[in-house]
């Protein structure tokens, strides 16, 4: 069964304290990995797509990387506004569409 596991479940950082979130997956024939940000009571907000091992994407203080077994979301010098739940998801192809299988997320709190 395809699985997506995220760690840690929760992370508290001081403003400016860099760290990394992990997403490990067991999917045969990975065809992409997605990172989303979710604020409380809101829908997931798309951040990055990674397709191949060694690929990196950056956006402001966030950088996502991908290996053959896992992905990391690195947060450099975070600010309180980066506080959110970060979700990773992998697509499962079914015919012409793809359903996303999500991890449980990492709840990030950045303290001022």
């Amino acid at each position: 069964e395809d699985q997506v596991t995220q760690s840690p479940e929760a992370l508290r950082l001081q403003e400016g304290e860099s760290s990394s979130l992990n997403c490990s997956y067991t999917v045969s024939g990975l065809r992409g990995l997605f990172w989303y940000r979710q604020d409380p009571g809101k829908g997931p907000e798309f951040l990055f797509t990674l397709y191949s091992a060694g690929e990196e994407k950056e956006k402001e203080r966030l950088k996502a990387t991908l290996t053959k077994k896992e992905s990391f979301l690195h947060i450099t010098a975070p600010k309180p506004e980066d506080s959110a739940t970060y979700l990773c998801a992998v697509p499962i192809y079914s015919g012409s569409a793809r359903q996303l299988t999500f991890g449980s997320g990492t709840q990030l709190t950045v303290l001022p």
Binding site: K42, A97, Q99, L100
Partner: protein, 111 residues
């Protein structure tokens, strides 16, 4: 920037009643999805829709659920006879084939 919209933002209904959740996907997108998230749990896939038909559905999407694209812009999820366990956030998403863009969600509360 185009975005997925959903209405209503919050729906309260009694057990056994029918509800219709509405979504307007991004206009040039071809694939449409419904997901749900029970409080404190993972986002779960319900159904995908392409070319005016269901592409795939999960075990959650039983005979009580249906989807429809009644015109060129709206995409709806109907629950025929709601149960307490249907209480959740329901998210609509759309894509052109790559990343999926999610709406803000409808919080469904079944009493």
């Amino acid at each position: 920037e185009p975005e997925v919209t959903q209405t209503p933002s919050h729906q309260v209904t009694q057990m056994g009643q029918e509800v219709i959740l509405r979504c307007v996907p991004i206009s040039n997108h071809l694939y449409f999805y419904w997901y749900r998230q029970i409080l404190g749990q993972k986002v779960e896939f319900l159904v995908s829709f392409y070319n005016n038909e269901i592409s795939e559905k999960s075990e959650i999407f039983d005979d009580q659920f249906s989807v429809e694209r009644p015109d060129g812009s709206n995409f709806t999820l109907k629950i025929r006879s709601t149960k307490l366990e249907d209480s959740a956030m329901y998210f609509c998403a759309s894509s052109r084939g790559g990343e999926q863009y999610f709406g803000p969600g409808t919080r469904l509360t079944v009493t």
